[in-house]
């Protein structure tokens, strides 16, 4: 593992989440882009990417070159990842609370429930997608330029 590979892994996860969030938002607002995800298994792609990426990064941390890992996964970097996760969870908590609050519970039906799932997915993907993308770019730029 090196800085560029880590940047690529985190950046791809972030961008894919943003694209899926955008797609979900378009579906929610009924905007047709003449392209539809017909098979809903594709909706697992962002999650699978996150699982796979986490697995790769964790494996590289435990089984990679120790000297390299001391630099790549040092305490300052870890602190920044914790801050990102904390910001993401806080934003998601607030967002999901708002999404629950704005539902029409008195007229609840299957379509409303389906829409709410899309809203939550879009919001969570957008939040973490933006955080991961911005972080990965900033992290790599710092590595290159100081």
């Amino acid at each position: 593992m090196n800085y560029f590979k880590r940047f690529l892994i985190v950046f791809v996860c972030g961008i894919v989440q943003i694209l899926f969030a955008a797609y979900s938002a378009l579906v929610l607002y009924g905007v047709s882009i003449d392209w539809h995800i017909n098979n809903h298994i594709f909706m697992f792609i962002p999650g699978i990417l996150i699982f796979a990426s986490s697995g790769i990064l964790t494996a590289s941390y435990y089984f990679g070159d120790k000297k390299n890992n001391n630099i790549l996964y040092d305490e300052y970097t870890a602190l920044r990842y914790y801050k990102i996760a904390a910001a993401g969870y806080a934003l998601n908590g607030i967002g999901i609370f708002i999404l629950f609050s704005i539902q029409d519970w008195s007229n609840w039906n299957f379509q409303n429930a389906n829409n709410m799932i899309y809203q939550i997915a879009a919001f969570a993907w957008l939040t973490f997608g933006l955080l991961l993308t911005i972080f990965s770019i900033g992290d790599y730029k710092e590595y290159k330029n100081g």
Partner: protein, 70 residues
Amino acid sequence: MGKHHQNLLNNLEELRKSAGLTQQDLSESAEVSRKSINAIENGIYVPSTVLALKIAKTLGCKVEDIFKLP
């Protein structure tokens, strides 16, 4: 004294330069990223005890010579 964290004053940049080391040299000896050394020097980040001791060991001084309470 260089740029400071609100809870910790540091003299790292001055000591590092007087030891003739670059941030890269120091980061390699202390086994951290150069970003961490830069962040400590600029008062953005307060290092752990282990990292502070590693830096002091590399620079051949005491931790108290590098870091001081305000």
